[in-house]
Symmetry: C2
Subunit: 164 residues, 2 copies
DNA sequence: TTGAATGCAAACGCTTTGCACTCGG
DNA sequence: CCGAGTGCAAAGCGTTTGCATTCAA
């Protein structure tokens, strides 16, 4: 019955220096930010600082990343972003077609920077995902969908494990 | 966040009256229990009453069911089983090869009574799953797995939606 | 008798939500 | 000034665990 409640701490309102981060940024970094910004604008997403930082990680190249991994990466970098914002942003990016959700394991959702249809190798032991371009898989035959349904996407998952 | 979808009931129990009222006795039920018991014993699972009741639901025919749906079914029947036992049992059944886990949506795990390799139609709106026998799909070509890895299973998921 | 199985409630991990604060146009 | 965005804490939800009780060999 009795619920052991942790006494509510009284944290101070968090404040971040508004502009404060850009240290010596190389030209390449500026270009990269510019590219991320363009991509966000193009998708109709307002390019806030947090979204740009998330985009810098997530749009760098093909990647499969969970919300928590992203959070840790941002912690590690000098630009922490709150969990709420990370979840909001990932969800937004998916809606806007900038990321794709992958659900292969029950414990967490992965976000895939490759948004067009493709397939995956899935290492059942480590959970690691490897992209397979759509052209490298051929599904020659499958039955018609149930009545009044149309096939939308055919997705192939190949479970792999260490060779014996 | 509210697709409490119920997998299509398989009305192929033709010995049951259309109203589906719980028979109080009958040779068929005894036979069914006997079959479930045999199946459990054969898999090295001690046939307790709860496991038999769960097996009666889950081994009746092709089914995709979540832990919670199973819990509700047992509540509805005259044989409630605690959540802990349901989760324990489903996990055990998977370990023993009596059920197969399906993860297509982040919100819950489904358990598939068909344990040999097969594929699925997945209704992206309702979450409903439909089995596709392995022979009805042909994957003719896919790239070799990464180094020191071997392909274990090739699983095809076909996302479907209502025809326009 | 004794280990396995069960069941309740509490704990847990991931994700979402409520709401006050901040920012930029 | 206002609406969009952010961040914290708390809530939510599915699942797991700790542990006392019950069952079955």
């Amino acid at each position: 019955m009795s619920n052991i409640k942790i006494p509510p701490p009284r944290p101070e309102t968090r404040r971040r220096s508004p502009t404060g981060e850009p240290r010596s940024l190389g030209a390449s970094e500026a270009v990269e930010r510019q590219r991320v910004r363009a991509r966000l604008l193009n998708a109709g997403v307002a390019p806030t600082i947090q979204r740009l930082e998330i985009g810098r990680i997530v749009f760098r190249g093909p990647i499969h990343i969970s919300a928590d991994e992203l959070h840790q990466k941002l912690e590690a970098s000098s630009f922490p972003v709150s969990r709420a914002t990370i979840y909001n942003t990932l969800k937004l990016f998916v809606e806007k077609g900038l990321l794709r959700e992958i659900v292969v394991s029950a414990e967490r959702v992965y976000y895939d920077s490759t948004t067009d249809l493709h397939h995956h190798f899935y290492d059942v032991e480590t959970g690691e995902l490897t992209d397979i371009p759509a052209e490298e898989v051929t599904v020659t035959r499958f039955p018609p969908p149930p009545a009044h349904m149309t096939a939308d996407e055919v997705e192939v998952l190949i479970r792999i494990r260490k060779s014996a």
